[in-house]
Amino acid sequence: GAGVSQSPSNKVTEKGKDVELRCDPISGHTALYWYRQSLGQGLEFLIYFQGNSAPDKSGLPSDRFSAERTGGSVSTLTIQRTQQEDSAVYLCASSLVPGSGYEQFFGPGTRLTVL
């Protein structure tokens, strides 16, 4: 079956613009995670969804970042008024159910460059 897909694969934007990053999880996976991979910070957790709810948003860096999930499936990560420090690879992962005992399957990521 299909894995986790993300779009776009690359996004170049100008400082101050808004961007939307999309994640399509594996069908039937109820848990969805967003992580950010940047040179200075490594791999950081951003937000976690259980179904359409986000019980843990603790990793979102600022109120410019938001995310939603609809239909228990597709998720969109939105960054408003992008800054150069937002440049990173944004990774999405899904698992059958939430919990550390369940493997997270990762997508290929979206590379965001803010000029």
Partner: protein, 114 residues
């Protein structure tokens, strides 16, 4: 708070040589531990995981890791490295709640010399 340390940022080994990548964690209880590999332009792929039981776990691609509670370590090993193993390797600990949130180390880049 949980944390993961990978002391080696970059390692170079010759093809056919053995490999050990170090990982140390900080966690109060029995941790959920993972090793992921990331090839250039690819997402992360799970190599192996430890939850409980036998402290030596086998993974894909000939990798194994040993959990040592006394040393708070979960080192990754491979007896004979192949050129295709060149990639970045991440150790991670499960955050411990029901969310499954992963805390990652900084990663180790493996270069394989022919």
């Amino acid at each position: 708070a949980q944390s993961v340390t990978q002391p080696d940022i970059h390692i170079t080994v010759s093809e056919g040589a053995s490999l050990e990548l170090r990982c140390n964690y900080s966690y109060g209880a029995t941790p959920y531990l993972f090793w992921y590999v990331q090839s250039p332009g690819q997402g992360l792929q799970l190599l192996l995981k430890y939850f409980s039981g036998d402290t030596l776990v086998q993974g894909i691609k000939g990798f194994e890791a040993e959990f040592k509670r006394s040393q708070s370590s979960f080192n990754l090993r491979k007896p004979s490295v192949h050129w295709s193993d060149a990639a970045e390797y991440f150790c991670a600990v499960g955050e411990g709640s029901n969310t499954g949130k992963l805390i990652f180390g900084q990663g180790t880049t493996l270069q394989v010399k022919p």
